[in-house]
Symmetry: C2
Subunit: 894 residues, 2 copies
């Protein structure tokens, strides 16, 4: 049998909700809704498999075309009208639909099938010429933009179709589209067609089948438009997936006051509250709502406007949640009082909402615990931990606007009226706050670069709200009292005028806008953890604590923290960190006056001189370790020995060099010469890591002694200690053996001097490809290994994180990276080395403790990878501990 | 049964020649000689397995001690004397013996078993008190030095035993040791004992069993002395092997004028000529010959001195070669006209000798071709290719000395009278020529650092000759007319005085010393290859050609050459290179005025500007390629696209920057800013390799076009061309695909423009760990892959070759590297990645051509590794082609 490329939905439905890979999310859910009897206008889906073929061939393969025509004929039968029929034409919408929703990223065409002839038929059949011409006008505009590529010339010009529309509105003295007369619309249609003729050199296509093919092609092509690529990059969606195309018979929300169109959520997607939520417009088509041009009405108002339909919608809300077991974001159209469902999907939600919905649905028995845990994007819970405005300051602050709370949290920054300006500020390290009348897909980069987003128009399903939810940005939409004037780069808020660059603050939980930059306090969760807020006073803490308890109950990976001070250790401990997976001892050398002793050590010319300087550093290191051991009482604490090149410690300017010379009575010239000698061509591949401890064994000896003396001190105070000593940058097992001997000897000496017995573990970082390959013999000595995924990425890829700036953009653009390998572990390359290492190390020492302590340790996909290859723990910065726990739990449950 | 740690030889023999790993070379061959009936004094070997155990325990394990005592008792029975017997004592020699010979590196003790009592017994039993006291004197001296560690305090002081000896000789007015009277000897013995008492605080041990244990321990310990470690490092001998200890009953060459000791070679080890060769001393012990203190007599003189023994020796020579099938280096002792064999081993030989002996033995049916090929150290044949003195100049040059030719070749340099001075000059990049009365193991570093070695004393088996042979150094020994005066740092040669730092030349083939630095001409082989010398006039060329023919007949690996110019390509072709495996196109950009166009390209701010500059470079590149294609007609030519960071091309000093600005009419500030912007933290891991071609596709486009236009040009001239385009530094398959598309498009365009059809191969370097791991998918596009072993070593080990200087010595000292990984492929790490890559690439594309083009491509061990993992070719610098061919043949035959 030939492969099936076209799936129908309606009276006959081929697909279902599980077929998202093939049909895309929209197509699969249209099929599912049809299957369970919801009122879905019939249509068909051309599968994602065709996307690549279409791109390669530049057109529809023949067999797909045949299947499409067959499906089209079936739709004609069901609705009893024919495509292109001059009397009573069947119209279609053509929409994209990828495996994962990419809202607003790709193209859509409505009212397809209208031409100079069928528009007359539609007018006659509906007995509504105004409606027919409005639909034709919309169709030409969309088709002209999307398929024929008649656009504004650049981001500063106006859309040429909108210009014609505005001109006619102006000359007729009307404010809104739905106030245009039939004559106005016919006028607009003629002008649109002239525009197209002028720009493209061809007339607007009258053949409806040609229209359909053009639209299908445009949707497939839109998979590779710039904004879609940017979006995929941000969310890690592979370009290979492709989009499906949904061709659906049209229903009309623009057939007059008994028609409407809307978007609704089964719960509040910003706060997660279990209320019916959404918005609609009377006498409009779907795109009007999302575009945010007219501010739509809140859904509850429909109870008054269209009570019967509202009743149906409330029933629909219940039915959807009980069938899909998740919060749904659905689109509907009311055509002359009849409700149609055009789409449903799992609603995007903020981190706050994700947690609340998951916990409440579990409580209400709608989903089980495992599902609930899986529902919360691990990364998103960092938003719960972000600082909030100081209540007292907020009470005093000047509120200059109020809108809909679309992305919870607190954000302050300099006002930017364009995405470009926001990007510019961000590059300079400043905080930007993007303020727009409404946002569009072109603004995505600027939105990414901003602390928060504020719009004066549009509702909670507007583009700004949608994207902010997904990005986890603080957002207030539809703050209608703000009058933004792009021309003067300023915004009026009553008596106040805010200029570009002025500071404002927005509260995305309350929907308020304030003048100036408001002070912040720790998040509620942190206030509870720090003991300044009683737990019972914070609902959000209650939810967070419950979630963490669930995670602790099911995850296999332990979660450690990277800490360089007792403060950091305590912070991570509050979040439930189970040990310290990395102390970068060198960080301790930078504090206060210590750096000078470190420099004295580096400048020493003999081992004896070095030992003299080291003797001064020893008590300081010991105190540090005592502090962290005490904070982490009873938990493992992993101390990494000196790692960075010595060059990083010495001063490079003459003044400091001279001052240092004076302090230690060393000639300036000697210092300068030594600093010069320490310079390296490729410091990342130079004299660092264990190579230092091997060249200067006295450094390792001092560090080992500081650790063990701290252990003895703690043991004498009855503080349980589990020290682990980690040797960095091992490539050869003999390096490890050399350092292990030094450590062992120091332990013996300290035991003997103190009379106190203690245990410790000795291990190493696996951060060089060679170390991964030799993990079998390394594990003969190492009692644990921790992957240093930053260095391992740099060496495996031969790519320095510090130097990749010159080609990173290009690499992203070409999709050479699917993810930035320094953010998410490069599973195919670096991950392969890790797998080899795990296998070989475990073969030698089956129970060996294996972890990861690079920055990947707190990144959800990398945590899941760590679980998948059987690591024992991940170690991350303290504030990533909850993220890592959640990701670890999710990994364990899938 | 308990493990056997002690193997006997003599009337009962446990071992044989095959057991070198366990018994060491000396022990195994002693056993073998005993087995085939040669006159070997009985004894036993303590195995190499005990070496590590001894080091760990600091003494002999109990079971070994018991086995040793049993063997000792057997020896006593055989010789009919007892160890420590006061009447007629059995004496022993105790010698080291590792798996591979390490001449002079470890310690030896003779005459063990003498004490104040047994010396009387020996005197009585031999009726030769002088001999007995001489032996005792020697024993105390050796034992004192080796076991009790009574040495000179530093390299400038005299040996304290030698000082006593000299003092007595002076006061008694005798010149040589063998002229000392019994009374003198007893005096010396007393003074020796006092010295030992004074330095060690203990008296010289009288217990013979304690003596034996001490000696065994000292030999084991000497495995880890500094000079042994240095030697092992140079020759890649693992520290784990350990040495065996040979305890053998003494025979005496110092029993008077009917006794003698000597060293002989079955052929000339310097020239390889098939003549009996060697030297001996009457009334001496073996150490006297090797130490070079008395210049020994050439072996042929024995025909007169001891005709009967000489006859036996000649017979022995024949027997040894016909049994061992190789040139033997053997030691013998004549005790009162009776010949004893003390050792035999395959003789070390120069590169010249190795080739000649192998070829002649094969010709004479002593060995087969396969064995002959295996006998020539691949690296050693580079000595055959080294320049020789210009015959005309040499004829006119002032000969200031004549000695024995001990290391063929021509060397000029500044005279150095100490090893330290030679090292110092070498470090400063100057050519040193080490001149010593004699050399000792302490001089090894200095010998390594010298162009050649000249001694005024000692014969062809002296330390200098021995080491020079093995190192492949030019060497003249025993140039007796030279009077070296260390005090005044000068050397008298008749009327001429040569000061330290003056230039001289030595001809190690003729044995002559010349004043001044003589001009050189290409080696005979090169003269023949270049057509300036008829082949039939050069015997050495004949041998070389025959050897290469053999190699070509059996090797599996192809040998390509790295070339950046037609000249280099031709040079490699003369040596039989079978293609160009690497053109570093960037080298072409440095030539002449081109660098400025390259700079113009780099300084360009837009793709259009870049293309303008590239258009100027294109014809130059094309000409280069035409030149190499023409030189390599019909053979594959592999062109690597631009690889190094752009920073390497731009000027870093202000003057050049300003001049450049003037030339291209670019403001100086822009140039400076651009140069600054190109700086990278870790250029090795930065914007280079294919990353350049991806950022600036126009560069790859230009290079592809230059290649293809050159191809078209050649095809029009009927020159067969096989171009291969190689993309550097691939990590991700998408990088390769991107560059492949550009190349493909250029090929299409050039084919279309020219109307000429041509083929080419497209491939990539495998020089990043990630690339090795992803070789499977890379091979979907790459038609060949070449390992860039330099970069692969840098990334796999995380070690920059440019920066490792700061810890390399330390790493060598600690034996963390067994070989320098940038000289010989790190088989355990880098090699493992290569194996993975080979396996995965071949799985995708079974017949894929795989090669190596890093500097390892001309290093014998790496070539053998390349063969072992199934590569198709190695590519190396032109003058390494013969080495690679020989190594490849050897790999194929083992």
């Amino acid at each position: 049998m030939a492969e099936k490329f076209v799936y129908e939905f309606g009276a006959r439905t081929d697909g279902d909700a599980k077929m998202k890979e093939l049909l895309g999310g929209k197509g699969a859910n249209l099929a599912e809704m049809a299957r369970i009897g919801l009122p879905v206008p019939p249509g068909f889906t051309i599968t994602t498999a065709v996307c690549a073929a279409f791109t390669a061939k530049g057109g529809l393969p023949e067999e797909v075309d045949a299947q499409k025509n067959a499906a089209l004929a079936n739709v004609e039968k069901q609705v009893g009208r024919r495509f292109g029929d001059a009397k009573d034409p069947l119209l279609f919408s053509v929409r994209s639909g990828a495996r994962e929703s990419m809202p607003g990223m790709m193209d859509t065409i409505l009212n397809l099938g209208l031409n100079d002839e069928t528009v007359l038929g539609l007018a006659a059949a509906t007995n509504n010429p105004r409606f027919a011409y409005d639909s034709y006008r919309r169709f030409i505009q969309m088709y002209g933009d999307v398929v024929l590529e008649v656009h504004a010339e650049d981001e500063h010009s106006h859309d040429p179709f909108e210009e014609i529309l505005s001109a006619v509105k102006r000359s007729s003295g009307v404010q809104f589209d739905n106030q245009l007369s039939e004559a106005n619309l016919r006028d607009i249609i003629e002008r649109y067609k002239e525009l197209i003729q002028k720009v493209t050199g061809r007339s607007f296509p009258q053949d409806v089948h040609q229209q359909l093919l053009g639209a299908i092609g445009a949707v497939f092509k839109s998979w590779n438009n710039q904004r879609a690529i940017l979006y995929r990059r941000k969310y890690g969606i592979p370009g290979e997936w492709g989009t499906a195309v949904n061709v659906q018979s049209m229903v009309f929300g623009n057939m007059g006051p008994d028609s409407a169109t809307g978007v609704a959520f089964t719960r509040d997607p910003a706060s997660g509250e279990n209320v019916f939520y959404g918005e609609y417009l009377i006498d409009a088509q779907g795109e009007d709502v999302v575009a945010g041009i007219r501010t739509p009405n809140p859904i509850r108002q429909m109870e008054k406007d269209m009570p019967a339909v509202y009743g149906e919608l409330v029933a629909m809300r219940k039915k959807l949640e009980s069938h899909f077991h998740d919060m749904q974001d659905f689109e509907f159209t009311v055509q002359q009082n009849k409700l149609y469902m055009l789409q449903t999907r799992n609603g995007k939600r903020t981190g706050f909402a994700a947690m609340r919905i998951a916990l409440e649905m579990e409580r209400d028995g709608l989903i089980d615990q495992k599902t609930a845990i899986g529902r919360i994007p691990a990364d998103s819970i960092t938003t719960l931990l972000a600082p909030i405005f100081d209540g007292k300051e907020q009470a005093k602050a000047k509120v200059i606007g109020k809108g809909l709370p679309a992305g919870p949290g607190a954000a302050s920054g300099k006002v930017c009226f364009s995405a470009a300006k926001a990007e510019e500020l961000h590059r300079c390290g400043e905080k930007a706050l993007l303020c727009r009348a409404e946002t569009s897909p072109e603004d995505i980069r600027g939105m990414l670069a901003s602390e928060g987003i504020l719009t004066s128009r549009g509702g909670v399903s507007s583009h700004a709200a949608l994207v902010a939810r997904q990005m986890g940005k603080v957002c207030v939409v539809g703050a209608a009292t703000l009058e933004i004037d792009y021309g003067s780069r300023s915004m009026r808020a009553g008596a106040v005028t805010v200029k570009e660059g002025d500071e404002i603050s927005i509260d995305g939980t309350r929907g308020e806008v304030y003048l100036g930059s408001l002070a912040t306090v720790p998040s509620e969760i942190n206030q509870v953890l720090e003991g300044t807020l009683p737990a019972e006073k914070s609902a959000i803490y209650g939810m967070f604590a419950r979630l963490m308890e669930w995670c602790d109950g099911c995850r296999k990976l332990k979660v450690y923290l990277n800490a360089d001070s007792p403060q950091q250790a305590k912070a991570g401990l509050r979040y439930g960190g189970e040990g310290v997976g990395l102390i970068r001892t060198e960080h301790m050398f930078f504090e206060g006056g210590r750096i000078d002793f470190m420099r004295e050590m580096i400048l020493a010319e003999t081992a004896a001189e070095r030992e003299k300087a080291l003797a001064k550093l020893l008590p300081m290191q010991r105190e540090d370790f005592i502090g962290i051991f005490t904070a982490m009482e009873g938990l493992p604490v992993n101390i990494r020995f000196l790692d960075p090149p010595l060059h990083e410690f010495v001063p490079h300017d003459e003044d400091t060099q001279r001052a240092l010379g004076k302090k230690f009575n060393i000639p300036f010239e000697r210092i300068r010469a030594r600093v010069e000698a320490l310079k390296e061509f490729n410091p990342m591949l130079g004299h660092r890591g264990c190579r230092l401890g091997i060249s200067y064994p006295e450094v390792s000896r001092m560090q080992a002694r500081a650790v063990f003396e701290a252990v003895v001190h703690c043991k004498k105070q009855n503080i349980a200690v589990h020290p682990e000593i980690m040797i960095p940058l091992i490539g050869f097992v003999k390096e490890l053996r050399h350092q292990a001997d030094i450590v062992q000897e120091a332990a013996r000496a300290v035991r003997e001097e103190s009379g106190v017995q203690f245990d410790y573990l000795l291990g190493t970082m696996l951060e060089l490809p060679r170390a991964c390959l030799r993990a079998g013999e390394i594990a003969e000595i190492a009692q644990f290994c921790s992957f240093g995924s930053n260095d391992l990425t740099q060496t495996a890829l031969g790519m320095s994180r510090d130097d990749m700036g010159s080609f990173l953009d290009r690499y992203n653009e070409l999709e050479i990276f699917t993810q930035n390998p320094f953010a998410t572990i490069d599973m195919e390359g670096v991950g392969e080395l890790m797998k080899i290492a795990v296998e070989r190390a475990r073969k030698t020492r089956p129970g060996i403790v294996l972890g990861i302590c690079g920055e990947h340790g707190g990144e959800p996909l990398s945590v899941k990878f760590a679980h998948a290859i059987g690591l024992t723990y991940v170690s991350c910065s303290p504030n990533r501990v909850p993220v890592a726990k959640l990701a670890a739990a999710q990994a364990a449950l899938t």
